[in-house]
Protein backbone atom coordinates (compact mmCIF):
# COMPACT_ATOMS: atom_id res chain seq x y z
CA UNK A 1 0.00 0.00 0.00
CA UNK A 2 2.97 2.31 0.35
CA UNK A 3 4.51 3.99 -2.61
CA UNK A 4 8.10 5.01 -2.43
CA UNK A 5 8.39 7.86 -4.86
CA UNK A 6 11.18 10.35 -4.60
CA UNK A 7 10.23 13.37 -2.55
CA UNK A 8 7.72 11.44 -0.45
CA UNK A 9 9.74 12.06 2.66
CA UNK A 10 9.66 15.79 2.10
CA UNK A 11 5.89 15.92 1.61
CA UNK A 12 5.30 13.67 4.58
CA UNK A 13 7.48 15.95 6.63
CA UNK A 14 5.49 18.98 5.50
CA UNK A 15 2.26 17.29 6.55
CA UNK A 16 3.75 16.41 9.91
CA UNK A 17 5.28 19.79 10.68
CA UNK A 18 2.31 21.45 12.45
CA UNK A 19 1.76 18.41 14.66
CA UNK A 20 5.46 18.06 15.43
CA UNK A 21 5.81 21.74 16.29
CA UNK A 22 2.95 21.56 18.77
CA UNK A 23 4.07 18.29 20.30
CA UNK A 24 7.70 19.31 20.65
CA UNK A 25 6.82 22.76 21.97
CA UNK A 26 4.07 21.82 24.38
CA UNK A 27 4.97 18.28 25.40
CA UNK A 28 8.63 17.66 24.67
CA UNK A 29 10.00 20.97 25.88
CA UNK A 30 7.90 21.00 29.09
CA UNK A 31 9.12 17.48 29.93
CA UNK A 32 12.69 18.74 29.57
CA UNK A 33 11.81 21.79 31.69
CA UNK A 34 10.18 19.58 34.33
CA UNK A 35 13.40 17.64 34.76
CA UNK A 36 15.41 20.86 34.79
CA UNK A 37 13.25 22.54 37.44
CA UNK A 38 13.49 19.43 39.61
CA UNK A 39 17.26 19.96 39.82
CA UNK A 40 16.98 23.45 41.29
CA UNK A 41 15.91 25.08 44.51
CA UNK A 42 12.95 26.81 42.94
CA UNK A 43 10.65 28.56 45.39
CA UNK A 44 8.64 31.76 45.63
CA UNK A 45 11.72 34.01 46.07
CA UNK A 46 13.35 32.57 42.98
CA UNK A 47 10.18 32.96 40.92
CA UNK A 48 9.80 36.63 41.82
CA UNK A 49 13.47 37.11 40.94
CA UNK A 50 14.61 38.24 44.38
CA UNK A 51 16.96 35.33 44.93
CA UNK A 52 19.19 33.73 42.29
CA UNK A 53 18.61 30.10 41.36
CA UNK A 54 20.77 27.51 43.06
CA UNK A 55 21.57 24.26 41.35
CA UNK A 56 20.88 21.38 43.71
CA UNK A 57 21.57 18.41 41.52
CA UNK A 58 19.67 15.48 42.93
CA UNK A 59 19.07 17.04 46.33
CA UNK A 60 15.30 17.39 45.76
CA UNK A 61 15.18 13.67 45.01
CA UNK A 62 17.31 12.83 48.03
CA UNK A 63 14.99 14.87 50.25
CA UNK A 64 12.00 13.22 48.69
CA UNK A 65 13.29 9.69 49.23
CA UNK A 66 14.19 10.52 52.84
CA UNK A 67 10.72 11.92 53.51
CA UNK A 68 8.31 9.51 55.19
CA UNK A 69 5.39 11.51 53.76
CA UNK A 70 6.50 10.77 50.19
CA UNK A 71 6.57 7.05 50.84
CA UNK A 72 3.17 7.07 52.46
CA UNK A 73 1.75 9.04 49.52
CA UNK A 74 3.40 6.64 47.07
CA UNK A 75 1.91 3.70 48.97
CA UNK A 76 -1.51 5.34 48.97
CA UNK A 77 -1.27 6.03 45.25
CA UNK A 78 -0.41 2.42 44.43
CA UNK A 79 -3.08 1.08 46.79
CA UNK A 80 -5.73 3.48 45.52
CA UNK A 81 -4.90 2.73 41.87
CA UNK A 82 -4.95 -1.02 42.59
CA UNK A 83 -8.41 -0.85 44.18
CA UNK A 84 -9.71 1.25 41.27
CA UNK A 85 -8.19 -1.02 38.61
CA UNK A 86 -9.44 -4.24 40.21
CA UNK A 87 -12.88 -2.75 40.87
CA UNK A 88 -13.14 -1.42 37.32
CA UNK A 89 -12.09 -4.74 35.77
CA UNK A 90 -14.32 -6.90 37.96
CA UNK A 91 -17.40 -4.72 37.48
CA UNK A 92 -16.69 -4.18 33.78
CA UNK A 93 -16.06 -7.86 33.03
CA UNK A 94 -19.02 -9.11 35.09
CA UNK A 95 -21.40 -6.71 33.36
CA UNK A 96 -19.96 -7.55 29.93
CA UNK A 97 -20.76 -11.22 30.55
CA UNK A 98 -24.18 -10.32 31.94
CA UNK A 99 -24.86 -8.25 28.81
CA UNK A 100 -24.35 -11.33 26.62
CA UNK A 101 -27.00 -13.25 28.58
CA UNK A 102 -29.91 -10.85 28.20
CA UNK A 103 -32.16 -9.66 25.40
CA UNK A 104 -31.43 -6.47 23.50
CA UNK A 105 -33.79 -4.16 25.43
CA UNK A 106 -32.14 -4.98 28.78
CA UNK A 107 -28.67 -4.67 27.27
CA UNK A 108 -29.46 -1.30 25.75
CA UNK A 109 -30.80 -0.03 29.08
CA UNK A 110 -27.55 -1.02 30.76
CA UNK A 111 -25.36 0.43 28.00
CA UNK A 112 -27.26 3.70 27.99
CA UNK A 113 -26.82 4.08 31.76
CA UNK A 114 -23.13 3.20 31.44
CA UNK A 115 -22.72 5.69 28.60
CA UNK A 116 -24.11 8.37 30.88
CA UNK A 117 -21.62 7.55 33.62
CA UNK A 118 -18.79 7.42 31.08
CA UNK A 119 -19.70 10.78 29.55
CA UNK A 120 -20.12 12.72 32.78
CA UNK A 121 -17.25 15.22 33.17
CA UNK A 122 -15.03 14.33 36.14
CA UNK A 123 -15.79 17.64 37.85
CA UNK A 124 -19.54 17.19 37.57
CA UNK A 125 -19.36 13.49 38.52
CA UNK A 126 -17.29 14.21 41.62
CA UNK A 127 -19.66 16.97 42.73
CA UNK A 128 -22.75 14.81 42.22
CA UNK A 129 -21.25 12.01 44.30
CA UNK A 130 -20.27 14.48 47.03
CA UNK A 131 -23.84 15.68 47.21
CA UNK A 132 -25.28 12.14 47.21
CA UNK A 133 -23.00 11.35 50.15
CA UNK A 134 -23.36 14.73 51.87
CA UNK A 135 -23.44 14.40 55.66
CA UNK A 136 -26.68 16.33 56.18
CA UNK A 137 -28.54 16.58 52.89
CA UNK A 138 -27.27 13.45 51.14
CA UNK A 139 -29.64 10.79 49.88
CA UNK A 140 -27.34 7.94 50.91
CA UNK A 141 -27.33 8.92 54.58
CA UNK A 142 -31.09 9.33 54.41
CA UNK A 143 -31.53 5.80 53.07
CA UNK A 144 -29.03 4.25 55.49
CA UNK A 145 -30.40 6.24 58.41
CA UNK A 146 -26.94 7.62 59.18
CA UNK A 147 -27.72 11.34 58.84
CA UNK A 148 -24.75 13.42 59.94
CA UNK A 149 -22.13 10.78 59.06
CA UNK A 150 -19.28 12.31 57.07
CA UNK A 151 -18.06 10.16 54.21
CA UNK A 152 -15.05 12.37 53.60
CA UNK A 153 -13.64 12.64 57.13
CA UNK A 154 -12.04 9.25 57.77
CA UNK A 155 -9.05 8.63 55.52
CA UNK A 156 -10.05 5.18 54.28
CA UNK A 157 -13.76 5.91 53.99
CA UNK A 158 -12.88 8.97 51.88
CA UNK A 159 -10.53 6.94 49.69
CA UNK A 160 -13.25 4.32 49.30
CA UNK A 161 -15.77 6.92 48.21
CA UNK A 162 -13.41 8.41 45.62
CA UNK A 163 -12.52 4.92 44.36
CA UNK A 164 -16.22 4.11 43.97
CA UNK A 165 -16.68 7.28 41.92
CA UNK A 166 -13.66 6.46 39.74
CA UNK A 167 -14.95 2.91 39.17
CA UNK A 168 -18.40 4.31 38.32
CA UNK A 169 -17.05 6.43 35.49
CA UNK A 170 -14.38 4.02 34.19
CA UNK A 171 -16.06 0.59 34.16
CA UNK A 172 -18.11 1.41 31.01
CA UNK A 173 -14.97 1.47 28.84
CA UNK A 174 -13.97 -1.99 30.08
CA UNK A 175 -17.51 -3.32 29.78
CA UNK A 176 -18.04 -2.10 26.21
CA UNK A 177 -14.60 -3.27 25.05
CA UNK A 178 -14.92 -6.74 26.60
CA UNK A 179 -18.50 -7.11 25.37
CA UNK A 180 -17.28 -6.43 21.84
CA UNK A 181 -14.48 -8.95 22.41
CA UNK A 182 -16.84 -11.68 23.60
CA UNK A 183 -19.17 -11.01 20.66
CA UNK A 184 -16.24 -11.37 18.26
CA UNK A 185 -15.59 -14.97 19.35
CA UNK A 186 -16.92 -17.13 16.50
CA UNK A 187 -20.04 -19.06 17.43
CA UNK A 188 -18.56 -22.31 16.03
CA UNK A 189 -15.79 -22.26 18.62
CA UNK A 190 -18.32 -22.12 21.46
CA UNK A 191 -20.52 -24.75 19.78
CA UNK A 192 -17.55 -27.06 19.42
CA UNK A 193 -16.79 -26.67 23.12
CA UNK A 194 -20.42 -27.41 23.99
CA UNK A 195 -20.40 -30.51 21.72
CA UNK A 196 -17.29 -31.73 23.51
CA UNK A 197 -19.32 -31.57 26.70
CA UNK A 198 -17.60 -28.57 28.27
CA UNK A 199 -19.53 -26.84 31.06
CA UNK A 200 -20.24 -23.11 30.92
CA UNK A 201 -17.50 -22.48 33.49
CA UNK A 202 -15.07 -24.69 31.59
CA UNK A 203 -15.85 -22.89 28.34
CA UNK A 204 -15.31 -19.52 29.99
CA UNK A 205 -11.97 -20.58 31.45
CA UNK A 206 -10.48 -22.69 28.69
CA UNK A 207 -11.95 -21.13 25.56
CA UNK A 208 -13.06 -17.56 26.14
CA UNK A 209 -10.37 -16.42 28.56
CA UNK A 210 -7.40 -17.32 26.33
CA UNK A 211 -9.11 -15.68 23.35
CA UNK A 212 -9.81 -12.52 25.34
CA UNK A 213 -6.34 -12.36 26.90
CA UNK A 214 -4.84 -9.73 24.58
CA UNK A 215 -7.87 -7.49 25.08
CA UNK A 216 -7.77 -8.00 28.85
CA UNK A 217 -4.12 -6.98 28.94
CA UNK A 218 -4.85 -3.82 27.02
CA UNK A 219 -7.77 -2.71 29.22
CA UNK A 220 -5.84 -3.60 32.39
CA UNK A 221 -2.83 -1.54 31.48
CA UNK A 222 -4.98 1.30 30.16
CA UNK A 223 -6.80 1.28 33.51
CA UNK A 224 -3.55 1.27 35.49
CA UNK A 225 -2.36 4.29 33.56
CA UNK A 226 -5.62 6.16 34.09
CA UNK A 227 -6.10 5.33 37.75
CA UNK A 228 -2.50 6.09 38.66
CA UNK A 229 -3.07 9.62 37.34
CA UNK A 230 -6.39 10.40 39.02
CA UNK A 231 -6.38 14.08 39.92
CA UNK A 232 -9.76 15.79 39.63
CA UNK A 233 -11.74 13.31 41.73
CA UNK A 234 -9.28 13.35 44.63
CA UNK A 235 -8.86 17.10 44.42
CA UNK A 236 -12.56 17.90 44.44
CA UNK A 237 -13.94 15.14 46.64
CA UNK A 238 -11.34 15.42 49.41
CA UNK A 239 -10.95 19.17 49.01
CA UNK A 240 -7.39 19.17 47.72
CA UNK A 241 -6.08 16.01 49.36
CA UNK A 242 -7.99 15.61 52.59
CA UNK A 243 -7.49 16.94 56.10
CA UNK A 244 -3.75 17.51 56.67
CA UNK A 245 -3.15 15.95 53.26
CA UNK A 246 -4.00 12.42 54.32
CA UNK A 247 -5.82 11.62 51.09
CA UNK A 248 -3.02 12.71 48.78
CA UNK A 249 -1.91 10.76 45.74
CA UNK A 250 1.32 11.54 43.84
CA UNK A 251 -0.24 13.82 41.24
CA UNK A 252 -2.11 15.95 43.77
CA UNK A 253 0.93 15.94 46.07
CA UNK A 254 3.15 17.32 43.30
CA UNK A 255 0.58 19.96 42.48
CA UNK A 256 0.19 21.04 46.12
CA UNK A 257 3.94 21.15 46.70
CA UNK A 258 4.35 23.40 43.67
CA UNK A 259 1.32 25.67 43.68
CA UNK A 260 0.21 25.69 47.32
CA UNK A 261 3.61 25.48 49.06
CA UNK A 262 5.54 27.23 46.24
CA UNK A 263 8.15 24.46 46.29
CA UNK A 264 8.30 24.19 42.52
CA UNK A 265 11.58 22.24 42.48
CA UNK A 266 10.28 19.62 44.88
CA UNK A 267 6.93 19.44 43.09
CA UNK A 268 8.73 18.89 39.78
CA UNK A 269 10.79 16.06 41.25
CA UNK A 270 7.58 14.30 42.36
CA UNK A 271 6.29 14.82 38.82
CA UNK A 272 9.42 13.22 37.38
CA UNK A 273 9.04 10.21 39.68
CA UNK A 274 5.38 9.80 38.61
CA UNK A 275 6.36 10.06 34.95
CA UNK A 276 9.10 7.44 35.29
CA UNK A 277 6.75 5.03 37.06
CA UNK A 278 4.16 5.47 34.32
CA UNK A 279 6.76 5.03 31.58
CA UNK A 280 7.65 1.67 33.10
CA UNK A 281 3.99 0.66 32.88
CA UNK A 282 3.94 1.94 29.29
CA UNK A 283 6.89 -0.24 28.36
CA UNK A 284 4.92 -3.20 29.66
CA UNK A 285 2.01 -2.00 27.53
CA UNK A 286 4.12 -1.88 24.38
CA UNK A 287 5.45 -5.37 25.05
CA UNK A 288 1.93 -6.66 25.62
CA UNK A 289 0.80 -5.08 22.35
CA UNK A 290 3.71 -6.66 20.53
CA UNK A 291 2.88 -10.06 21.99
CA UNK A 292 -0.75 -9.78 20.92
CA UNK A 293 0.42 -9.26 17.35
CA UNK A 294 -0.13 -5.53 16.90
CA UNK A 295 2.04 -4.08 14.16
CA UNK A 296 2.81 -0.40 13.95
Amino acid sequence: MMRATKGDGRIAFAYLTPALLLLVGLLGYPIYQLVLISLFDYGQEQVSGGVPLTFLGLENYANLLADAKFWSVLGQTVGFAAVCVIGTLVVGAALAVLATRVRTWARLTLFLAALGAWATPAVAGSTIWLFLFDANFGFVNEVLGTTGFSWTYDRWVAFGLVAAQVIWCSFPFVMVTLYAGIKAIPGEVLEAAALDGASALRTARSVMLPLLRPLLIVVTIQSIIWDFKVFTQIYIMTNGGGIAGRNLVLNVYAYQQAFAASEYGLGASIGVVTTVLLLLVTLGYLRALKKSGETL
Binding site: L16, V102, F131, A180, T274
Partner: protein
Protein backbone atom coordinates in the same frame (compact mmCIF):
# COMPACT_ATOMS: atom_id res chain seq x y z
CA UNK B 1 -36.61 -18.15 33.60
CA UNK B 2 -32.89 -17.71 34.25
CA UNK B 3 -32.78 -15.15 31.50
CA UNK B 4 -35.66 -13.35 33.17
CA UNK B 5 -33.71 -13.08 36.42
CA UNK B 6 -30.63 -11.90 34.54
CA UNK B 7 -32.70 -9.20 32.87
CA UNK B 8 -34.15 -7.98 36.17
CA UNK B 9 -30.62 -7.80 37.61
CA UNK B 10 -29.40 -5.94 34.51
CA UNK B 11 -32.12 -3.33 34.76
CA UNK B 12 -31.54 -2.89 38.51
CA UNK B 13 -27.81 -2.34 37.90
CA UNK B 14 -28.60 0.11 35.11
CA UNK B 15 -30.77 1.98 37.60
CA UNK B 16 -27.96 2.18 40.15
CA UNK B 17 -25.47 3.34 37.50
CA UNK B 18 -27.83 6.01 36.21
CA UNK B 19 -28.97 7.11 39.66
CA UNK B 20 -26.31 9.81 40.25
CA UNK B 21 -27.31 11.45 36.96
CA UNK B 22 -31.00 11.22 37.85
CA UNK B 23 -30.21 12.80 41.22
CA UNK B 24 -28.28 15.62 39.52
CA UNK B 25 -31.17 16.57 37.22
CA UNK B 26 -33.74 16.10 39.99
CA UNK B 27 -31.83 18.33 42.42
CA UNK B 28 -31.41 20.96 39.73
CA UNK B 29 -35.19 21.03 39.29
CA UNK B 30 -36.14 20.99 42.99
CA UNK B 31 -37.10 24.18 44.79
CA UNK B 32 -34.42 25.29 47.23
CA UNK B 33 -36.29 24.23 50.35
CA UNK B 34 -36.40 20.63 49.12
CA UNK B 35 -32.70 20.60 48.23
CA UNK B 36 -31.56 21.73 51.66
CA UNK B 37 -33.72 19.30 53.50
CA UNK B 38 -32.83 16.81 56.19
CA UNK B 39 -34.90 14.14 54.48
CA UNK B 40 -34.35 14.38 50.72
CA UNK B 41 -36.95 12.64 48.58
CA UNK B 42 -36.25 10.93 45.26
CA UNK B 43 -38.97 12.97 43.52
CA UNK B 44 -40.33 16.50 43.48
CA UNK B 45 -43.88 17.75 43.11
CA UNK B 46 -42.89 21.35 42.45
CA UNK B 47 -40.26 21.35 39.69
CA UNK B 48 -38.77 24.77 38.98
CA UNK B 49 -35.99 26.30 36.90
CA UNK B 50 -34.93 28.60 39.75
CA UNK B 51 -31.59 26.86 40.21
CA UNK B 52 -30.79 27.18 36.51
CA UNK B 53 -31.69 30.87 36.57
CA UNK B 54 -29.49 31.36 39.64
CA UNK B 55 -26.61 29.50 38.05
CA UNK B 56 -26.84 31.41 34.79
CA UNK B 57 -27.33 34.89 36.24
CA UNK B 58 -25.88 35.23 39.71
CA UNK B 59 -22.41 33.96 38.92
CA UNK B 60 -22.43 34.75 35.20
CA UNK B 61 -22.30 31.06 34.47
CA UNK B 62 -23.37 31.92 30.91
CA UNK B 63 -20.08 33.70 30.36
CA UNK B 64 -18.13 30.63 31.50
CA UNK B 65 -20.25 28.44 29.28
CA UNK B 66 -19.25 30.57 26.28
CA UNK B 67 -15.58 30.43 27.32
CA UNK B 68 -15.71 26.65 27.56
CA UNK B 69 -17.35 26.45 24.14
CA UNK B 70 -14.76 28.76 22.57
CA UNK B 71 -11.85 26.72 23.92
CA UNK B 72 -13.41 23.37 23.01
CA UNK B 73 -14.35 24.37 19.44
CA UNK B 74 -11.01 26.02 18.77
CA UNK B 75 -9.26 22.84 19.90
CA UNK B 76 -11.55 20.66 17.79
CA UNK B 77 -11.17 22.66 14.57
CA UNK B 78 -7.41 23.10 14.74
CA UNK B 79 -6.68 19.57 15.89
CA UNK B 80 -8.91 18.25 13.10
CA UNK B 81 -6.75 19.82 10.40
CA UNK B 82 -3.42 19.06 12.02
CA UNK B 83 -4.19 15.46 12.94
CA UNK B 84 -5.64 14.74 9.50
CA UNK B 85 -2.44 15.89 7.81
CA UNK B 86 -0.26 14.00 10.27
CA UNK B 87 -2.31 10.80 10.03
CA UNK B 88 -2.11 10.98 6.22
CA UNK B 89 1.66 11.38 6.36
CA UNK B 90 1.97 8.42 8.70
CA UNK B 91 -0.20 6.05 6.68
CA UNK B 92 0.36 7.07 3.05
CA UNK B 93 4.07 7.62 3.03
CA UNK B 94 6.96 5.45 3.92
CA UNK B 95 9.95 7.20 5.35
CA UNK B 96 12.65 6.56 7.88
CA UNK B 97 11.73 7.34 11.48
CA UNK B 98 8.08 6.56 10.71
CA UNK B 99 7.94 3.70 13.21
CA UNK B 100 9.86 5.78 15.74
CA UNK B 101 7.27 8.53 15.41
CA UNK B 102 4.43 6.07 15.91
CA UNK B 103 5.99 4.65 19.05
CA UNK B 104 6.56 8.19 20.32
CA UNK B 105 2.89 8.99 19.72
CA UNK B 106 1.92 6.05 21.87
CA UNK B 107 4.43 6.87 24.60
CA UNK B 108 3.50 10.54 24.95
CA UNK B 109 -0.10 9.55 25.61
CA UNK B 110 1.11 8.03 28.85
CA UNK B 111 2.92 11.13 30.09
CA UNK B 112 1.07 12.37 33.17
CA UNK B 113 0.08 15.81 31.92
CA UNK B 114 -0.70 16.76 35.52
CA UNK B 115 3.04 16.78 36.21
CA UNK B 116 3.56 19.18 33.31
CA UNK B 117 1.47 21.89 34.98
CA UNK B 118 4.62 23.20 36.66
CA UNK B 119 6.79 23.81 33.57
CA UNK B 120 3.76 24.82 31.48
CA UNK B 121 2.75 27.38 34.08
CA UNK B 122 6.13 29.09 33.77
CA UNK B 123 6.10 28.78 29.98
CA UNK B 124 2.68 30.43 29.77
CA UNK B 125 3.90 33.11 32.13
CA UNK B 126 6.72 33.97 29.70
CA UNK B 127 4.40 33.69 26.70
CA UNK B 128 2.10 36.26 28.30
CA UNK B 129 4.84 38.89 28.01
CA UNK B 130 5.23 38.26 24.28
CA UNK B 131 1.79 37.22 22.97
CA UNK B 132 -0.75 37.94 25.74
CA UNK B 133 -3.64 35.96 24.18
CA UNK B 134 -1.70 32.71 24.42
CA UNK B 135 -0.37 33.36 27.91
CA UNK B 136 -1.61 32.97 31.47
CA UNK B 137 -5.12 34.19 32.24
CA UNK B 138 -6.16 33.95 28.58
CA UNK B 139 -8.20 31.29 26.84
CA UNK B 140 -5.47 30.89 24.21
CA UNK B 141 -3.21 29.19 26.74
CA UNK B 142 -5.88 26.55 27.33
CA UNK B 143 -6.38 26.03 23.59
CA UNK B 144 -2.65 25.47 23.12
CA UNK B 145 -2.22 22.85 25.84
CA UNK B 146 -5.36 20.93 24.97
CA UNK B 147 -4.35 20.89 21.33
CA UNK B 148 -1.03 19.34 22.26
CA UNK B 149 -2.60 16.82 24.63
CA UNK B 150 -5.35 15.67 22.31
CA UNK B 151 -3.20 15.41 19.16
CA UNK B 152 -1.41 12.12 19.89
CA UNK B 153 -4.61 10.18 20.41
CA UNK B 154 -6.37 11.94 17.52
CA UNK B 155 -3.55 11.08 15.12
CA UNK B 156 -3.36 7.53 16.44
CA UNK B 157 -7.06 6.99 15.93
CA UNK B 158 -7.36 8.74 12.54
CA UNK B 159 -4.56 6.59 11.19
CA UNK B 160 -6.89 3.62 11.07
CA UNK B 161 -9.54 5.56 9.19
CA UNK B 162 -7.09 6.93 6.61
CA UNK B 163 -5.56 3.49 6.09
CA UNK B 164 -9.03 2.09 5.34
CA UNK B 165 -9.33 4.24 2.20
CA UNK B 166 -8.03 2.12 -0.71
CA UNK B 167 -4.85 3.35 -2.36
CA UNK B 168 -6.37 2.59 -5.80
CA UNK B 169 -8.61 5.58 -5.22
CA UNK B 170 -5.60 7.85 -4.98
CA UNK B 171 -4.11 6.30 -8.12
CA UNK B 172 -7.39 6.81 -9.95
CA UNK B 173 -7.55 10.42 -8.82
CA UNK B 174 -3.98 10.99 -9.95
CA UNK B 175 -4.74 9.44 -13.34
CA UNK B 176 -7.70 11.78 -13.64
CA UNK B 177 -5.26 14.61 -13.20
CA UNK B 178 -6.12 15.60 -9.65
CA UNK B 179 -3.26 17.21 -7.81
CA UNK B 180 -2.08 15.78 -4.51
CA UNK B 181 -3.61 18.75 -2.76
CA UNK B 182 -6.98 18.28 -4.43
CA UNK B 183 -7.00 14.58 -3.66
CA UNK B 184 -6.26 15.33 -0.04
CA UNK B 185 -9.11 17.78 0.52
CA UNK B 186 -11.72 16.70 -2.03
CA UNK B 187 -11.39 12.93 -1.90
CA UNK B 188 -9.63 11.76 1.25
CA UNK B 189 -11.03 14.33 3.68
CA UNK B 190 -14.72 13.57 3.02
CA UNK B 191 -14.00 9.83 3.04
CA UNK B 192 -12.51 9.87 6.52
CA UNK B 193 -15.23 12.20 7.83
CA UNK B 194 -16.68 9.54 10.17
CA UNK B 195 -13.27 9.14 11.78
CA UNK B 196 -12.88 12.89 12.00
CA UNK B 197 -16.20 13.13 13.83
CA UNK B 198 -15.19 10.50 16.37
CA UNK B 199 -11.79 12.08 17.02
CA UNK B 200 -13.32 15.54 17.22
CA UNK B 201 -15.69 14.42 19.91
CA UNK B 202 -12.82 13.06 21.95
CA UNK B 203 -10.86 16.29 21.55
CA UNK B 204 -13.97 18.25 22.50
CA UNK B 205 -14.56 16.22 25.64
CA UNK B 206 -10.90 16.48 26.57
CA UNK B 207 -10.96 20.28 26.44
CA UNK B 208 -14.47 20.61 27.84
CA UNK B 209 -13.80 18.49 30.93
CA UNK B 210 -10.49 20.03 31.88
CA UNK B 211 -10.31 21.27 35.43
CA UNK B 212 -6.61 21.23 36.18
CA UNK B 213 -5.23 23.54 33.52
CA UNK B 214 -8.07 26.02 33.81
CA UNK B 215 -7.32 26.12 37.53
CA UNK B 216 -3.59 26.56 36.97
CA UNK B 217 -3.58 29.03 34.08
CA UNK B 218 -6.59 31.27 34.75
CA UNK B 219 -5.50 32.61 38.10
CA UNK B 220 -6.60 36.20 38.27
CA UNK B 221 -8.92 36.77 35.30
CA UNK B 222 -12.32 35.63 36.55
CA UNK B 223 -13.93 36.61 33.25
CA UNK B 224 -11.82 34.00 31.42
CA UNK B 225 -12.69 31.04 33.59
CA UNK B 226 -14.25 27.92 32.15
CA UNK B 227 -17.18 25.83 33.38
CA UNK B 228 -15.44 23.24 35.55
CA UNK B 229 -13.98 26.02 37.68
CA UNK B 230 -17.13 28.10 37.67
CA UNK B 231 -18.89 25.16 39.29
CA UNK B 232 -16.60 25.61 42.27
CA UNK B 233 -17.81 29.15 42.99
CA UNK B 234 -21.04 27.72 44.38
CA UNK B 235 -19.05 25.59 46.79
CA UNK B 236 -18.79 27.74 49.87
CA UNK B 237 -17.35 27.01 53.29
CA UNK B 238 -20.56 27.88 55.12
CA UNK B 239 -23.34 26.62 52.86
CA UNK B 240 -23.02 25.13 49.40
CA UNK B 241 -25.70 26.17 46.94
CA UNK B 242 -26.36 22.58 45.88
CA UNK B 243 -29.28 23.50 43.62
CA UNK B 244 -27.11 25.80 41.53
CA UNK B 245 -24.19 23.35 41.59
CA UNK B 246 -26.40 20.58 40.22
CA UNK B 247 -27.94 22.93 37.63
CA UNK B 248 -24.41 23.86 36.54
CA UNK B 249 -23.37 20.21 36.45
CA UNK B 250 -26.39 19.43 34.30
CA UNK B 251 -25.53 22.21 31.86
CA UNK B 252 -21.98 20.92 31.72
CA UNK B 253 -22.91 17.26 31.24
CA UNK B 254 -25.61 17.59 28.58
CA UNK B 255 -23.39 18.57 25.61
CA UNK B 256 -20.99 15.73 26.34
CA UNK B 257 -23.82 13.26 26.73
CA UNK B 258 -25.37 14.29 23.43
CA UNK B 259 -22.05 13.95 21.60
CA UNK B 260 -21.35 10.62 23.21
CA UNK B 261 -24.67 9.17 22.15
CA UNK B 262 -24.21 10.52 18.62
CA UNK B 263 -20.86 8.86 18.06
CA UNK B 264 -20.84 5.92 20.45
CA UNK B 265 -20.80 3.35 17.66
CA UNK B 266 -17.88 4.94 15.89
CA UNK B 267 -16.17 5.56 19.18
CA UNK B 268 -16.27 1.92 20.10
CA UNK B 269 -15.16 0.89 16.63
CA UNK B 270 -12.37 3.45 16.75
CA UNK B 271 -11.23 2.39 20.20
CA UNK B 272 -11.33 -1.25 19.17
CA UNK B 273 -9.20 -0.27 16.19
CA UNK B 274 -6.86 1.74 18.36
CA UNK B 275 -6.32 -1.08 20.82
CA UNK B 276 -6.79 -3.72 18.14
CA UNK B 277 -8.81 -6.56 19.52
Amino acid sequence: MRRGIAEVVTVLIAGVVAFPLYWMVLTALKPESEVISADPRPWTLAPTFDSFVRALTVQSFGRYLVNSLVVAFAVVLISLLISFLAATALTRFRFRSRTTLLVMLLVVQMVPVEALTIPLFFMMKSVRDVVPVFGLNHLGSLVLVHLAFSLPFAIWMLRGFVAAVPVELEEAATLDGASRFRFLWQVLFPLVAPGLVATSVLSFIHAWNDFLFAKTFIISAAENQTLPLALQVFVKPDQNDWGAIMAGSTLMTIPVLVFFILVQRRLVAGLAGAVKS
